[in-house]
Symmetry: C2
Subunit: 508 residues, 2 copies
C-alpha cells in the first residue's frame, strides 16, 4: 500500500520507502559494528535479522550515542575533566542532542514504531511564545502571533494597494487581480478598503488587549498592530521564518520520557550483542576480514581484539580521523576533510512551570538575539506540579557565540544563560533550581555536534566517505544528506548495509 501511495505521488516526502528487506544467503558472514548510536544500532538490528553474526562495540556505558537524555542522578564528564552531576527532580529530563523528530523522517519513525517507543507532539511553533531583541520594542518581548499576523497583514496591504493602483499590470491580469485582492484580504485580514488596521477580525488573529469574555464582564478591547517600519527594523520576520522548513512543520514528535528512549529501546533489543565501554584504538583490514583493537575505558593496560568478515563503522569522522585505520586514500581524505559543528545546549530546571502558569506558554520556542538564541519550553508534562526543565540556550552551527559559551565553565554557562533569559522571563531568578550545560565540541566521543559539509567538500569527498572500502563501510549522519538529523543516521545505515549485503550475497 505504501508503494501504491508513492506511485500516486502522495508519499514523496521521505526517502524511506518502507522496511528494508535483505534477502539471500549471507553464508555465515559476520559484521562488526562500531558505535551503538542510531546508525550502528539500525545497521546491527537489520543485519542480525538478515542472518549475519553481529557484534557492536560502544565507547559509552549506554546505547544511543547522541540520542541521549540526561535525568536526575546522571553525570556527564566533558573533555577538560569537568564532571556535572544532574540534579533534576524525578521525571524531568534534558536532551543535549537531538530533541525532535519531524513527521517526514519516516526512517526513524519506523523504528520508533517497531521498538514500541511511544511518541508525543513536540511543539515547534508556539504562537504564544516570544520573539525578543534588546534593540527592538524597548527590549520587550512580543508574542510570535503578533509578529506573524502583523507581517502578513502589512505585506497584504502593501500588495493590495499596488494592485488597486494598477501597478502590477505587467504581472497580474485583470481577472487574476480580483482573485488576488480577495485572497489578500482573506489571508492578511484586511478591511473593506484593503487596509490592515485594528479591528475585531485583526484581534481575532493577533490577540486582544482585553479578550472576549463571559456574562457581563467588560467588553473586549482590540489590540493595535505594530507599525510596519518598526516590525521590519526589528528583523523579527527572520524568526517567523524558522518554523517554515519542512523539518519544523507540524506534526513534529518527541519520544515520551526523552529522546534517549529510542536509544534505550534499541539497546534493549540488541542487549546480547553490544559491548559497552570499548574505546577503539585501531581498525585494520585485509582481503579476508577486519580486525579492531580496543581498550576497556579507564584501563589502558590491556588491548583487546575483535574480528569479523565486515565492518560497519559509525564512529564520527572527527574521532575516526585520530584512529589508525587501514583504508585507501579516498576514504582517508574524506574522513580528514570533514569538520564538525560546535553546538551548545543548556538545560535549566525551575521549581515552578511559570511559563505555563503566568504566560500561557505550553511548549514551543522563544527566539532572541541574545547569545542564548532560543529558549524552549517542555512539550510534555503540561500542568504538572513538579517544576520543569527549559532548554535555556541552544546555539548551533559554528557561531562564535557557541564557542564563547563553550569556553565558560559549566557553572558559568548556567549563570550566563540565567542572566540572559531573565531579560525575557523575570521569574528566572526566583524559580531557578539546577542546570547542566553540554558543549558538543568537548564531548569526548564526538568532538562536535555533527559533520559540517560545505557544498564544495561534499562534491569532492561525500561519495568517497560513503563508498565501501574493502571490508569496511561508514555510516552515520555524516554519511547522509540530512546532516545532524537522526534520520540521516538511520537512512545512511540502511543504505550502507544494503550495499554491503549485495556484496556479500554476490550481487555486486
Amino acid at each position: 500500500m505504501y508503494n501504491a501511495m508513492l506511485a500516486l505521488g502522495y508519499a514523496a516526502e521521505s526517502d524511506f520507502s518502507g522496511p528494508i528487506r535483505l534477502s539471500g544467503d549471507v553464508k555465515g558472514a559476520s559484521v562488526l559494528v562500531l558505535g551503538a548510536g542510531l546508525a550502528g544500532m539500525t545497521a546491527a538490528y537489520e543485519l542480525q535479522k538478515a542472518g549475519y553474526k553481529v557484534q557492536i562495540l560502544e565507547y559509552n556505558e549506554r546505547p544511543g550515542g547522541r540520542n541521549w537524555s540526561l535525568y536526575g542522578g546522571d553525570s556527564y564528564t566533558e573533555i577538560g575533566g569537568v564532571t556535572q552531576k544532574v540534579e533534576f527532580a524525578k521525571g524531568l529530563y534534558f536532551n543535549p542532542g537531538p530533541w525532535r523528530i519531524p513527521h517526514v523522517h519516516r526512517g526513524i519513525l519506523h523504528y520508533c514504531k517497531v521498538l514500541n517507543v511511544p511518541l508525543e507532539s513536540f511543539c515547534q511553533i508556539n504562537y504564544n511564545a516570544y520573539v525578543h531583541s534588546e534593540r527592538a520594542f524597548g527590549g520587550k518581548p512580543r508574542r510570535f502571533r503578533e509578529v506573524n499576523a502583523d507581517f502578513n497583514g502589512h505585506v497584504a496591504e502593501l500588495l493590495a494597494k499596488a494592485a488597486s493602483q494598477e501597478k502590477l499590470k505587467d504581472a497580474v491580469s485583470p481577472d487574476e487581480k480580483a482573485v488576488l485582492l480577495d485572497a489578500l484580504r482573506n489571508w492578511g485580514v484586511l478591511d473593506r478598503n484593503f487596509q490592515y488596521r485594528k479591528s475585531d477580525d485583526v484581534s481575532a488573529v493577533r490577540g486582544y488587549d482585553v479578550s472576549p469574555n463571559g456574562g457581563l464582564r467588560p467588553l473586549p478591547v482590540n489590540s493595535e498592530p505594530m507599525p510596519f517600519k518598526q516590525l521590519l527594523d526589528s528583523r523579527f520576520w527572520a524568526s517567523i521564518r524558522q518554523g517554515q522548513i519542512i523539518e519544523h512543520q507540524s506534526q513534529v514528535f518527541q519520544p515520551v520520557g526523552g529522546m534517549g528512549m529510542i536509544g534505550k529501546a534499541f539497546g534493549n533489543a540488541l542487549s546480547k550483542i553490544i559491548k559497552y565501554n570499548c574505546q577503539v584504538t585501531k581498525i585494520a583490514q585485509d582481503g579476508s576480514g577486519v580486525s579492531v583493537s580496543y581498550m576497556q575505558r579507564g584501563d589502558t593496560s590491556q588491548q583487546y581484539t575483535a574480528k569479523a568478515d565486515w565492518c560497519v563503522c559509525t564512529i564520527p569522522a572527527s574521532v575516526l580521523s585520530q584512529i589508525p585505520l587501514t583504508t585507501g586514500a579516498p576514504l582517508r581524505n574524506a574522513i580528514n576533510s570533514l569538520s564538525y559543528e560546535a553546538a551548545f545546549k543548556v538545560g535549566l530546571e525551575f521549581k515552578r512551570r511559570f511559563w505555563e502558569e503566568d504566560e500561557a506558554i505550553y511548549g514551543g520556542i522563544t527566539y532572541t538575539d541574545l547569545p542564548i538564541s532560543n529558549i524552549s519550553y517542555p512539550s510534555t508534562g503540561y500542568h504538572s506540579a513538579g517544576g520543569g526543565v527549559l532548554l535555556g540556550g541552544y546555539i548551533f552551527g559554528n557561531q562564535p557565540r557557541a564557542f564563547e559559551f563553550s569556553a565558560l565553565s559549566a557553572r558559568d554557562q548556567v549563570k550566563a544563560a540565567l542572566a540572559q533569559g531573565q531579560k525575557i522571563h523575570p521569574q528566572y531568578s526566583r524559580e531557578f533550581k539546577s542546570g547542566v550545560g553540554v558543549s558538543w565540541h568537548r564531548v569526548p566521543w564526538t568532538l562536535g555536534c555533527s559533520g559540517s559539509w560545505t557544498e564544495d567538500n561534499r562534491k569532492k569527498n561525500y561519495d568517497n566517505m560513503c563508498a565501501i572500502d574493502g571490508r569496511l563501510v561508514l555510516a552515520g549522519e555524516h554519511c547522509s544528506r540530512l546532516p545532524a538529523w537522526q534520520e540521516g543516521a538511520v537512512l545512511s545505515a540502511l543504505d550502507a548495509i544494503t550495499r554491503l549485503h549485495k556484496r556479500v550475497v554476490g550481487r555486486t
Copy 2:
C-alpha cells in the same frame, strides 16, 4: 505573580485572571443548578467551595453535557428515535461536541489542572495534511505545506517586484525598501533576483520530489511550485487562513482519552450533588426562592420539586424557551430571541491507521470543498496498532449542507461521508469498520450546537440574557462572547456566580 504578569501586559490573552475567590458569609444560602455541563459544574464547584448548599439537576445519565466523548459500547438516541450503538474498538473515541482547547482559554485549562485531567497536544495545522477541491488540480489533493509555501512565495515575489520597480514609493521610504526586500526574500524564500522558483531552498519549505537521503541513494530532486494563477483560482488560500485565528494557533490541547474526560472529572468531584436523568418541566420563582419541577426521564407519571434560595440555569435557550419560567420580559425575550446553530459530525473507525502509515499524516485537518468540509486525524495513539477513528466530516454554522447531512439517516450519513472521503483517501473503502453521526439540532437536550448571536440581537438581548432576574441567573456558552467554546461556558459561569454572590453577601 499572574497579576504581576498581567500588569506587564504579558497575559492579556485571556479574560480569566486566576482562580475565583468568593469571600464573605453566604448565610446558609442554597443554590439549585440546572444542567451538569461545564457551566453548571463550574458554578456548582465554586459555589460549594464558597459555602453554599448546592444541588444540580441534569437531564442526561452522565455529566458533561456537550463535553462528551463516545466510546465503544455507548449508544446515542437522537430526536426521531434513532438509536446508534457505537462499535469502536477499545481505547478509541469520537468527540461529537468540542474537540480542542486553545492555550488562551485559561478558564477551562485552570479546571483541567485543578481536576487533574491530563492534556496532550491537539494538532490543528498539519502541513502534511491536504487541501482538496474537486475543481482544482484535477481533484488531486495538495499538501497544506505546498499551498502555504507557494502562496507566501508568490506574494513575496510580486511585492518585491513592485518595490524594485519603485512602484511603492508613496508607501515605502528608500530605507524601508531595502529591509522590506530583505524580509521578503527571507520570508518568501526568494532567490537572488527576488523570484520564487524551484530550488533547494524552496524544496526545503514546500517539500521535495525526492527527499535528501542517506549514503549513496539518489540525489534529492526539487519540486516545482504551483503557478500563482492556478493557486489563486483554487481558492486554497482560504484554507490556510483557517489556522490563523487565535483559538487555532498552537499550542492547542485535548484531554487524554477524549474531551469528555473533563466532564467526567467534574462529575466525580461533584458526585454527591448531581441528580441525573432529571427533565425540568417548570421553573418558578418568587421573592423568597426558586421552585423547579422535574420528571425522571422515561417516567412522566410523577413530578418532583426541588427548591432553593437561588437558581443558576444553564439549560440552552433553545430548550429553555419551551419550559414554563417565571421571569421578567427582558429575560424572556432574550431567551426567545436566540436561534441555535446546526452542526454535524461523523466519526469513522478504520481498521488501520492508513493516514499515518501510507501518508505520514499524524493528526491535523484536511480541508475540502466537498460537503464533509473537513477530515480530521486523531491527535493521539500515534503508531498504535488498533486502528483509529477519523472525524470524517464536520459541518458547522447554519450551512444548508449541515441540514442536508442531518436529514439523512445515521447509516446514510456514514455512507455519504465515506463516499466523499474516498476521493481524498482511496483506502477508505478497504479499511472502514464502523461509524456514528451526530446532528446537533436533533440532540434532545440542546436542539442545536450553540447559540447563534447576530450582532444586532446581541445589542438588544445579550445583557438581558446575562442579568440576574430575581433569584435566577443564566450561564453557558450562550451567555458569553465566546460562542460555542467551552471557555465561554466556564467564564460565563464564573461571572454569573460572582454577581450572584455579591447579591447574597449584600454588596450589590
